[in-house]
Subunit: 442 residues, 2 copies
């Protein structure tokens, strides 16, 4: 494995336990890990990155997406949920096959890496294809094979989905250091109690994380109350779902009693502020979660409801929308937001990640801060949340490998990924009969 | 004046009356104006911009900022309003002189131009200095000299402020095609009824716009009700303030009866979604304004409450936060948002701007769309609001002049602007005694 020496970084936002910010430091990366941080390291290395005028921080962790949905970007917006699903998303989704999945996943991963995201949590179909894409392009990925009661492009039944998920986990566990396989029962309203339990048992038996959509929409919680006499989180908890290490996406509508479940079970709430605004799900009570010591990570959700996978933008939305909604400018501060994209999800995963410190896995982002919007540099933490643009990302290192160098992908051909995605998208339009500006042209 | 030929633009989002989107068109710019739009224009021009793989749109209009406040970026965040003002902003603001104003203004204008903004509406002090900066760097600017009852860095009294504003307007009217002088009575709570009327009279006599903060905070409206027995907008209307062509910033808290005043008086509401979230002012009822035919523009506000002047980001916030707040994904659609940054404020100004059509002033932005987040190109309008990054801006033309070429400023030295801003910021810290990360270093 190549060694990398980052020389003379003007600013290092370590995100270590003391949240130290260092100036003019070197960082040495050897054997996939950060081996030392000091002034004037004299070691030789295979790659030397000059970092004067640059800021070094841990790679960003996106805790919720559906990466192949990048092919659906902008196909329809500003519509009611059911119309959007029935006329646009579902017709396209039904026609998906591994060819589209691969093209969309690589597009989403390319975009993610260029914007400084080094780990994605994904829930979709054909996760084996997605795992191969992650391994090839060089992004860290926690991939959940979805379980749903109704047919998907990959499965005809929940029975089949459970079996595919179990096989996917067995196949990918320990196979590639970048890939953590996982299981994704879609949501309490779309999976029966029996199959939620079976999904949980697979996660526990295989010791992998479980990913689920939880209490995203108010109508879901109402529906659960009617059907089971209790709201979504309580329902899932009573089934024992949270015996598995659980990432719960959205969690916009908890009852106050359910907060204690989220805390006690160590659930990682994946907050998706951009998606929650776009789909009009509402404001997840993040200030309450933080006050109650509940783990909070950030996610973009899929490109169909965002429409980009920009974690810098997501940080700004997370820091701001709750201030507006609570009418309190002090809720959700920059330090809390930085933890959401680094330390907190890393701790949940149990991988030594999310901080620039010796021994940590080398997932590192280097930003060019010689830009007008970085002046003056009153506070690097404030600037990372409120002023940084994802385009400031110059270099990205994942698992000790330089995958983005001067903004360009080193592992695969960017132009080819983009061409393949256009082609796959056109193919999907043709198969599904969905119309768009693009399809009108060609 | 140089002529510019834009060759083979892959996409032109015209923002003309029919909101036409053209493919593979040429655009010729002569004598500050767009002279023709057609396939294969054969004219020669001083500058030829190859635009295959690029998108052309009208320059963005930022209807509310305090441009020198870029020097205050990130000095303090996530604080209560009064603590923030008393401990940080006011101590620095009291020490401002034209040296800082010039440095901060150029920094803010550089940032604006690089991000595709071709017109700014500003309200601050020393507007003559800001006008000179706008003229030199080459940005279109509508500049309001502020009027306040209490002392400012420039004035000791409202009396003096009114006189300075009047002189500024007389001096700059008709002097530079880029600069529209204007008057800025700060707000109904900070200017007496008598002085509001005098400010209005100056605006009407000189036929220039008037800019004011209006109903930004709920407590302001309460205060006005107590003092005058009516809310802010009604109070201002009864004084005849809106006899002047008025830009009202924020307007978060109108009563339902006041909507009719906003509509009837043709007021341009400048919506500042990022600032409104950061200061916790609340959610301006933009869906109601649109339904009632009230003019809506977008603004960033000053960098202290944003902390960047990115109008692409502002568009996304404007399109999304009201969906979340109203729990309705159909409110505020992409076409409405694009109008807010182009046609609507241009129409208010009475300058032929905000559309790519023959005869229009040539304020034009050209984006590089060969980027992963532009794929697939289902809808250029959707992508401009939800997916475009301000860093996609490649070229910017203001008033027929190419001011940003391949992302770099052509008129002044970018590096010098950045250096000067750092220096002025340090000087301001020293004079005011405010502490920051930066000051700790040096």
């Amino acid at each position: 494995m190549e060694s990398i020496l980052i020389k003379g970084a003007s600013v290092v936002v370590t995100q270590d336990r003391e949240r130290r910010i260092l100036r003019d430091f070197d960082i040495l990366i050897e054997d996939h890990r950060i081996s030392s941080i000091a002034r004037d390291i004299s070691a030789t290395a295979d790659v030397v990155l000059e970092a004067k005028g640059k800021l070094v921080m841990p790679g960003l962790i996106n805790t919720h997406t559906h990466i192949p949905m990048n092919l659906f970007r902008g196909v329809a917006d500003d519509m009611g949920l059911m119309e959007w699903l029935e006329k646009k998303i579902w017709p396209m989704e039904r026609k998906l096959n591994p060819y589209h999945i691969r093209a969309g996943a690589l597009l989403g991963m390319l975009e993610s890496l260029k914007m400084g995201t080094t780990t994605i949590f994904d829930m979709y179909f054909f996760e084996g294809t997605i795992a191969e894409a992650a391994s090839k392009i060089g992004i860290r990925a926690v991939l959940a094979s979805s379980v749903l009661e109704f047919p998907t492009p990959e499965t005809r039944s929940a029975e089949e989905a459970l079996s595919i998920a179990e096989n996917f986990i067995k196949e990918w566990k320990g196979r590639d250091p970048l890939v953590t396989p996982s299981i994704g029962p879609h949501a309490p309203y779309s999976v029966t109690p029996e199959n939620l339990i079976r999904a949980k048992e697979i996660a526990v038996d295989e010791n992998v994380p479980l990913q689920i959509h939880l209490a995203e929409d108010y109508s879901e919680v109402e529906q659960m109350r009617k059907k089971y006499g209790k709201p979504s989180i309580k329902h899932a908890d009573d089934l024992g779902l949270f015996d598995a290490r659980t990432v719960a996406a959205h969690v916009v509508w908890p009852s106050s009693e359910e907060l204690e479940i989220l805390r006690k079970r160590g659930i990682l709430v994946s907050h998706n502020p951009v998606s929650n605004m776009k789909t009009a799900a509402g404001f997840s009570p993040i200030p309450d979660y933080l006050k109650n010591g509940i783990r909070v990570g950030l996610g973009t959700d899929g490109a169909a409801s965002n429409n980009v996978l920009d974690m810098f933008e997501t940080m700004k939305f997370a820091a701001l929308i709750h201030k507006g909604y609570m009418r309190d400018p002090t809720v959700v501060n920059v330090r809390q937001v930085l933890d959401m994209v680094t330390r907190t999800p890393a701790e949940f995963l149990g991988i030594k990640l999310g901080a620039i410190e010796p021994g940590s896995m080398a997932d590192v982002v280097i930003l060019d801060i010689k830009k007008p919007w970085w002046i003056p540099l009153h506070s690097p933490e404030s600037h990372l949340v409120y002023s940084a643009r994802s385009s400031d990302v110059a270099h990205v290192i994942v698992n000790g490998k330089l995958v983005i160098e001067n903004g360009e992908l080193t592992t695969l051909d960017e132009g080819q990924i983009m061409k393949d995605a256009v082609k796959a998208s056109l193919d999907l339009l043709e198969r599904s009969g969905v119309k768009s500006f693009l399809s009108n042209k060609l």
